[in-house]
């Protein structure tokens, strides 16, 4: 009896506790699943060595310690549907970003973001140039001035603001504003007075602003989106002056004036609409009108005479540039019968340069301003027929016709040009694709695209015949206007032989054939004659068990270009025709592993490996049949360039408790290249200027980089 009573009491207590705390526990469990999560991560990491190439964008270029601070704090007030979000990434690095958002969902929202993007040039420039980063630079001869190692790079500091307001049911206003200050330096150069290359540095100090205001009206049948896009570019500099070596007197240093991009702006109005005529048929339209201008005063004035200013007395002091762009697009998608869907599209895009044609100089080949305008009509129709539950067939045809304005002189006559041009360019593209979908084991597609481009007659380049060649300017068919036939085949298959294994195969082949001749006399058919590309890849994912997952991928890609070019008889070389056989190929591999080692410990590993080879084969046939000759002190053989990168990343995440983790990272990274861009053929550093004492800048490109990274982070999670 005693026992029974006690049992009853214990059961009653147990039931009572379960109903009270059980519900609370269930609520907690549900909350964990349905309430937004937040996390804050604080740590420190150390790279063992400099990462000149691999660290160009990630803010961790130098071998040193870095603070690692990330946060994603999300709160939602469930009663009002209001979100508060604070997100920070890489706060301890040079490319940190932080953003905040307030959003009453479906009603009003504001967001702010600050973001830095740093870009470091991987090379070191050893130079005597002074004033780097400014608009006045002073070059010193090799006889004077100290050689300084300089690293160049830019930083973009972006401040973004967003605003959203639901004005009426179905009517939303979105405003986005982006302000960016870009500062830093970029390698530049100039042809010296004696045809030597001399080093210069472009100073970057510009502000850009972009504003977009959009009204979206949406109903089930009809949708409309219209608004304004504005963008402004404001360069602090309008010219850079580089004083040449020589006299200690500034005026006698014969400065070179290098122009820079000037302030410009663009304003666009747009309207985009869609109407569902029925459940199966939808029509859309797009209208855009944009006006871009560049009216900043050109450096100098006619009265300043020579130097950086205008040297043609009658020249206007502004370009008064204006480019108008119009877009009209009509679209129709329909499913006229159950198994057939059709997509048709008509597009008119006209970029018209309305800048007045005026003279800004009197010397040289092209003293007049040259406006380039492009009017493009595109018509497309594409149909997909579902053959059965699994297979569907898509066929499409696209016709593009482009009217390209040819350059004219101030007098309105056709202008002499240095490269042949074309007024009309047309391209027809046909595509066919067979797809298999909705299968649990094998899905994929097989597609073929054929495109043919041709156009009207050529506006020939100004003919100059000298140095053993005749009409050489017209012996080339520029790649962007040459007649071309393009074929592309692509096969892609997703195969899941079992629930735990999936494989993906991709094969892509492309071939371009260019017509190199355009009926010139003589006609050696120079230019790009063919291009080939191919890619083979396989991806796999294997869930070994419910604690271990492996992924891997491998890809081989190759692109080839065959082209030829005429060579004139000058500088120590005899006239003839060169044949180039260029090739870029790459092997890439990625392997990943994720392991739930214990209930508290997760492990991960990633391996990335890539190896590329660029080949520059060339041969030369001379017109006179003699062996090819080359300039003095010149090697026409170019070694293959090989780049190799391997990165092994290991990490572990250990749960200290329910709310906090400890994460350890280890990365081993290797980079190697034999890129000869900044080398003489004998392996020594290429030097700007000449042996007579000009410039002397040389560039150090680190061909090898090995670095290890260790990091530890404490991660706190909460809801």
């Amino acid at each position: 009896m005693h026992t029974l009573q006690r049992k009853f009491r214990l059961s009653a207590t147990c039931i009572a506790l379960c109903s009270a705390f059980g519900a609370a526990q269930a609520d907690e469990e549900v909350d964990a699943l349905i309430k937004p999560e937040s996390s804050v991560s604080v740590g420190v990491g150390q790279w063992s060595g400099d990462r000149h190439q691999q660290g160009i964008y990630d803010g961790q270029r130098d071998g040193k310690a870095y603070g690692l601070i990330d946060a994603d704090i999300v709160r939602r007030d469930d009663d009002s549907g209001t979100w508060f979000r604070l997100k920070a990434h890489n706060l301890g690095l040079d490319n940190g970003e932080i953003s905040g958002e307030y959003l009453r969902q479906g009603d009003i929202g504001v967001s702010l973001e600050y973001n830095r993007i740093s870009r470091d040039n991987p090379n070191t420039f050893n130079t005597r140039l002074q004033g780097i980063g400014g608009a006045t630079q002073i070059e010193n001869s090799t006889a004077g001035g100290k050689m300084n190692p300089v690293t160049l790079g830019t930083v973009r500091e972006q401040s973004n603001m967003g605003f959203y307001k639901n004005l009426l049911p179905g009517l939303d206003l979105n405003i986005a504003f982006k302000n960016e200050d870009k500062t830093g330096t970029r390698p530049w150069g100039r042809g010296g007075s004696n045809n030597f290359a001399e080093f210069a540095v472009e100073p970057i100090n510009a502000n850009t602003r972009q504003l977009e205001a959009v009204l979206n009206y949406t109903t089930k049948l009809f949708q409309l989106s219209g608004g304004y896009n504005g963008s402004w570019y404001d360069n602090k500099y309008n010219q850079v002056t580089i004083a040449a070596p020589g006299s200690a007197v500034a005026n006698a240093r014969n400065p070179t004036y290098l122009s820079v991009p000037l302030d410009n702006e663009a304003h666009q109005l747009f309207l985009n609409g869609g109407y569902n005529f029925s459940k199966a048929t939808r029509g859309t339209f797009k209208l855009e009108y944009a006006r871009a201008t560049q009216n900043e005063r050109l450096p100098g004035t006619p009265s300043t005479g020579s130097g950086g200013g205008q040297t043609l007395a009658s020249a206007p002091d502004r370009l008064d540039a204006r480019v108008d762009t119009k877009l009209i697009q009509l679209g129709l998608t329909s499913r006229p019968v159950q198994n057939l869907s059709v997509n048709a599209n008509l597009r008119y895009h006209h970029m018209e340069d309305k800048t007045p044609v005026r003279n800004f100089a009197s010397a040289g080949d092209s003293p007049d301003y040259v406006p380039f305008s492009y009017k493009t009509f595109t018509g497309k129709v594409e149909g997909t027929y579902r053959l059965d539950e699994a297979y569907s067939l898509t066929a499409g045809l696209e016709e593009k016709r482009q009217d390209r304005k040819l350059p004219v002189t101030v007098a309105g006559t056709l202008k002499d040009v240095v490269v042949p041009m074309r007024q009309d360019l047309n391209e027809t593209t046909a595509r066919l694709e067979l797809r298999r979908t909705l299968s649990e084991t094998l899905n994929g597609s097989l597609s073929y695209v054929h495109a043919k481009r041709d156009g009207g007659r050529y506006h020939a380049a100004d003919v100059v015949s000298s140095n053993g060649v005749v009409n050489i300017e017209n012996q080339v068919n520029p790649l962007n206007i040459a007649d071309r036939e393009r074929d592309k085949v692509r096969a892609s298959f997703d195969w899941a032989p079992s629930e735990v294994l999936s494989l993906q195969f991709n094969l892509e082949q492309g071939q371009d054939k260019y017509k190199t001749s355009h009926n010139t006399t003589p006609d050696y058919g120079a230019g790009l004659s063919s291009g080939k590309s191919q890619l083979y890849s396989v991806d796999g994912a294997w869930t070994v068990n419910d604690r271990l997952k492996l992924t891997a991928w491998y890809a081989y890609d190759q692109s080839k270009a065959r082209q030829s070019a005429l060579r004139a008889d000058n500088g120590g070389g005899n006239a003839g025709i060169k044949s180039y056989d260029l090739q870029d190929s790459g092997n890439s591999l990625g392997i990943g592993m994720r392991l739930e080692a214990t209930s508290r410990l997760n492990l991960g590993a990633n391996l990335e490996w890539t190896s590329t080879v660029s080949k520059y084969n060339q041969s030369m046939a001379t017109f006179n049949g003699a062996a090819a000759t080359y300039p003095a002190n010149f090697d026409a053989g170019l070694e293959d360039i090989k780049n190799r990168m391997v990165r092994l990343s290991l990490f572990s995440v250990y749960a200290l408790d329910k709310k906090s983790d400890l994460r350890l990272d280890f990365i081993h990274e290797r980079w190697k290249t034999n890129d000869w861009s900044w080398l003489y053929a004998n392996g020594t550093a290429f030097t700007y200027g000449n042996a007579a004492g000009l410039d002397g800048t040389y560039v150090t490109a680190d061909p090898k980089q090995i670095s290890n990274f260790v990091a530890m982070r404490y991660i706190y999670k909460f809801q």
Partner: protein
């Protein structure tokens, strides 16, 4: 005894409290566990049934939709389970221990719902604004479903909307771009400072699914200084940046498709030094002229440095050829 009585009293009080609060959620079926009126679904798909998101991402969490914008019930526009999955009566009314029939519409990898039907479901709400031209986009016409890229029950993290994680989603199909992005010269996509959608609007029908109506307008959003116009314009620059650049990545500096002089000689053929053969000066021991400088360093750009256009008004052919 006093202690026992106190415990009993406490048990009764706790029991009453439990009885009061426990059914509160169940009684108000219209409120639901995670979405409005989801009681019919969450009576089975509750926390004990939920495949809680794990490190390997093997299990799918149904309830984690609650962490997303879709799960914000205070917003009257948010869906119920059946808004997307259909009434699914056969699925919901299934009795027995065997696997129930699938809901009317499913969105997972092995879904038997056609991509069009899946997309129509999403477009019930997402048809306006940026999704206006989805039906005529290349993706829509290649049987890509919204859920091929977006994860709706996503533990609050839709990878494709995360700048750093997005490329991994795009590389599921775009293998060529995956190999190009790991080339030495690339945009900062692998570093997470840009995403594919920085340049592409995959919901639109613009050429190449670009964010703007032309290649150049897209590039100008970050490279506005190239917009010009310049006193001396370089024709291909005004036409299409992609004539010379491969934006996804190359082995040549500045994302050039090919290095100088090969790239330049695809258009330029002249009597003088532009027709030079490619090669390197052997050393700097003797005078270097323009016929030797088209490959080394920045190649032709050693001198023709303002290749995107020049604003120089110097009365010299030098200025017109982008050297000033």
């Amino acid at each position: 005894m006093k202690i026992i009585r106190s415990a009993q009293l406490l048990s009764i009080l706790l029991g009453l409290w439990g009885a009061i609060i426990a059914p509160a959620g169940a009684a108000d079926e219209s409120k639901g566990l995670v979405l409005k009126g989801d009681a019919r679904c969450t009576s089975c798909h509750d926390e004990s049934d939920d495949g809680k998101p794990g490190f390997l991402g093997l299990s799918k969490s149904v309830l984690s939709i609650g962490k997303t914008k879709h799960g914000t019930q205070a917003d009257g526009r948010t869906p119920t389970c059946t808004s997307c999955h259909g009434d699914s009566n056969k699925h919901a009314d299934h009795k027995g221990s065997d696997k129930p029939p699938k809901p009317d519409r499913t969105f997972g990898k092995n879904s038997s719902t056609t991509p069009q039907a899946r997309n129509e479901t999403c477009q019930t709400c997402h048809q306006g604004g940026k999704h206006m031209n989805w039906q005529s986009s290349t993706h829509a016409n290649r049987d890509v479903a919204c859920t091929s890229c977006h994860s709706v029950h996503n533990n609050g993290h839709d990878k494709v909307r995360d700048k750093k994680a997005q490329p991994e989603v795009c590389y599921t199909c775009h293998k060529e771009q995956r190999t190009q992005m790991i080339r030495p010269s690339h945009h900062p996509v692998p570093e997470g400072k840009m995403a594919c959608t920085s340049c592409h609007d995959v919901h639109s029908d613009n050429p190449k699914a670009l964010a703007k109506s032309s290649t150049n307008d897209t590039c100008y959003t970050c490279h506005m200084e190239k917009r010009g116009p310049f006193v001396h314009s370089h024709q291909p620059v005004t036409e299409d940046c992609a004539i010379c650049h491969q934006p996804h990545g190359t082995t040549t500096a500045n994302l050039l498709k090919s290095r100088a002089p090969f790239l330049c000689q695809e258009c330029h053929s002249h009597t003088s030094h532009p027709s030079q053969i490619a090669g390197l000066p052997i050393n700097g021991g003797s005078a270097l002229g323009t016929t030797q400088l088209g490959t080394v360093g920045r190649g032709c750009l050693n001198c023709h440095t303002n290749i995107h256009g020049s604003n120089s008004t110097m009365n010299s052919a030098t200025a017109q050829r982008f050297r000033r």
